[in-house]
């Protein structure tokens, strides 16, 4: 157990050989939040978005086809599971793998929608997520080269990971998490299916919160 004055007390550690996954007060709260949203994705029905016809009083509601709903729900649950993994991972390489999986499933949630604008946004985000794997895995590789280990458990408090590696990890996570790109690509949110689209935001935010904790810990 390590007790740094950063994230509260360590609660539980699960060892898989030299890989030690752990729960601190901080990561346990993030884990619980992800779990809550997986539950919501499973039990929630999507909303029926109302579109206004400009220039008149007319409006209409959109229904989501069942096959699209099933695929979005599947991708959102997969995204939630990847988020759970990223929250408790005690190994930098596993963390980067889970981050990449979150990026892939985020694209899946959006790309299920058969709308030209949404699909274009998903395609462009896909390129960003793909490019972001370079700094993401590069950061982990530099950490390994500099310290000889990828275990957060061993690196905690040592301050041995170079600042460059931490910065690359943060940049990589920002690329994998879709939320920052809402700023430039609001078309993504044209995608209906509130519980599933919300999972994109949940996963991106939790991933960012976790990488901040990792950057301060190692």
């Amino acid at each position: 157990m390590f007790d740094l004055p950063i994230e509260g007390a360590e609660l539980l550690a699960v060892e898989f050989g030299d890989i030690v996954d752990y729960f601190s007060v901080y990561t346990a709260v993030l884990f619980a939040f992800a779990l809550l949203f997986i539950g919501l994705v499973i039990i929630s029905r999507p909303e029926k978005p109302v579109d206004i016809v400009f220039g008149g009083d007319a409006y209409y509601t959109k229904e989501i086809p069942p096959e699209q709903l099933r695929f979005q729900r599947f991708m959102a649950i997969a995204c939630g599971l990847a988020t759970l993994g990223a929250m408790v991972s005690g190994d930098l390489f596993n963390f980067t793998l889970f981050s990449s999986m979150i990026g892939i499933t985020n694209i899946g949630i959006v790309a299920a929608v058969k709308n030209r604008h949404v699909l274009e946004a998903a395609y462009q985000y896909g390129i960003v997520a793909m490019v972001a794997t370079v700094p993401l895995f590069g950061g982990a590789a530099i950490a390994l080269a500099a310290t000889g280990t990828l275990s957060i458990w061993e690196l905690a408090g040592a301050g041995a990971v170079p600042l460059l590696a931490k910065m690359l990890l943060v940049v990589g996570v920002m690329g994998e998490g879709m939320a920052p790109f809402y700023i430039g690509k609001a078309e993504i949110t044209r995608a209906p299916g509130a519980p599933y689209v919300l999972m994109i935001h949940v996963s991106s935010l939790l991933l960012f919160l976790r990488v901040v904790e990792i950057a301060l810990t190692v």
């Binding site: 950063i6 039990i43 929630s44 029905r45 509601t61 935001h201 949940v202 935010l205």
Partner: protein, 280 residues
């Protein structure tokens, strides 16, 4: 704990009332009485309530409960002198609440509010710059350690002024009628909370009151240090009045301007952190 929670909710709603009154007086209007927000919350509790036919029912209700849960957790962290990182993680999870409130209703106004909420996620960037600065100066992110450091060395407000300014802007961004409050701008009706009325609105008002109390109290604990409750209450009101002046005199910014300003502030803090903590 429950008594602290109830006290914080009513204190937060009272602070909202003072905020509205101060803005009105600055703008030359009489304004509502200071307890108006408490009356609003009580009134909404007994109004007729239903869920819109276009909404995702479960999510529509769940985000309201999550809002209360998120800020109750934040209050708990604050009262138990827990981790500052956890406190601000909980603060960031409030973004999910804002986004979820807007998306779940199916209303286009709600959706506009939700999209603006995600765009204004830039307001969280100064927050992490603040955390980094506090960590560099005090060597800890536990609120108890930060308070002990201030007892020994004096208020952090003077030692890490740029970080305090960054947190002040974060708090300002979350105030009603703030120049950064684009998610509830009147051109999109009530933004992401447009469709939440009746008891849902009462619960949201309670959660947002709790949010205001927690953020102001956190600012005091982090940058001014521990102080008696009455003095803390007086400082909270003074801090709130300074925010009210800004809200009363500054027009609502456009969504992209809010992002530009907040990223600009974060950039300045990053430069400060690099100069103060990393480069030496």
């Amino acid at each position: 704990m429950i008594e602290y929670l109830i006290f914080a909710v009513f204190a937060g709603l009272l602070l909202h009332g003072i905020h509205r009154k101060a803005i009105a007086r600055i703008q030359g209007r009489p304004g509502p009485p200071v307890w108006q927000e408490i009356l609003h919350a009580l009134k909404f509790s007994f109004k007729e309530t239903w869920i819109p036919a276009t909404a995702s029912e479960t999510l529509f209700v769940a985000v309201v409960l999550i809002a209360i849960g998120v800020w109750s957790t934040a209050l708990f962290v604050l009262l138990t002198d827990g981790s500052l990182l956890l406190l601000f993680a909980v603060y960031m999870l409030h973004k999910i609440v804002e986004h979820g409130l807007g998306l779940s209703s199916g209303s286009p106004y709600g959706k506009f509010g939700a999209i603006r909420s995600v765009m204004s996620a830039a307001s969280e960037i100064p927050l992490f710059a603040t955390i980094a600065a506090v960590y560099l100066v005090t060597g800890s992110l536990m609120i108890s350690d930060i308070q002990a450091w201030q007892v020994a060395h004096g208020p952090l407000l003077f030692t890490a002024l740029p970080a305090a300014i960054a947190l002040y802007i974060v708090v300002l961004a979350k105030m009603h009628y703030s120049p950064f409050a684009v998610i509830e701008s009147k051109e999109i009706v009530s933004g992401n909370v447009t469709e939440h009325f009746g008891v849902w609105r009462a619960a949201l008002d309670a959660a947002f009151g709790l949010k205001t109390f927690v953020l102001l109290y956190a600012f005091i604990l982090i940058f001014l240090g521990p102080m008696p409750l009455l003095l803390a209450a007086a400082v909270m009101v003074l801090l709130l009045l300074s925010l009210s002046f800004i809200c009363a005199l500054t027009p609502m910014l456009s969504p992209f301007d809010t992002v530009t300003i907040q990223i600009g502030v974060a950039g300045l803090i990053v430069v400060y952190v690099l100069l103060a903590g990393v480069i030496p």
